[in-house]
Subunit: 104 residues, 2 copies
Amino acid sequence: MTPYSEKDEQIALLAKAMGHPARVAIIRLLLKKQTCICGDIVDELPLSQSTVSQHLKELKEAGLIQGEITGVKTCYCIDESNWEKIGKLFDGLFNTTYKAKSCC
Amino acid sequence: MTPYSEKDEQIALLAKAMGHPARVAIIRLLLKKQTCICGDIVDELPLSQSTVSQHLKELKEAGLIQGEITGVKTCYCIDESNWEKIGKLFDGLFNTTYKAKSCC
DNA sequence: CTTATTAATCGTAATTTTACGATTAATAAG
DNA sequence: CTTATTAATCGTAAAATTACGATTAATAAG
């Protein structure tokens, strides 16, 4: 269906999800802070509640984070089941030591 | 000016550049193959010459690749001076071992 | 039951991205 | 000099993204 490899599609999807500074900031927040309530994330970002919610949804759909509704609040966290795999995917691409070729 | 950290902006910019399967495929091609002539890249992708040229421009602007005009052809390659740094940027983010927190 | 809080979703406008064909500029080949 | 080749750029249409306020749904608090 898609003319690209499964791996390339996967990396592109994940990279796209990380392709906005607000989403990078959210990921970093979830890696650092104890609290991961949606409202707390909204407070840390210069964006409206609805926009942050949209960014959270994108990160969730890409498999980077998980959201768990508890009562009236929603707690977000890094999706542990994918995190390591994602790290390795990027590692496999970016930490290929590049050797200069003849052409340039 | 920007409300986000320099690092988050940098990562987002690079991730965005990798956020399309065609561009991931181009990077992988440049990592693997000897030849890096624009025309060869066009041949490997299911896209028109102008579209590939546009993707190459984006990768170049993000600092991921370099292009060198030699006669009537242009030879693209991984930007060695940035490659390692970029790998470390992503490594620093994705290879943070995530420890489950109390909240979810 | 009523009201308040929280976060998702809807509707929408503005911007950006993606893709293409056509054109252009530059070098190479004849 | 003329023609061919290569790749960048232009113009443009369609689609996707980003952001917001308003609304909704669900639980919590009174």
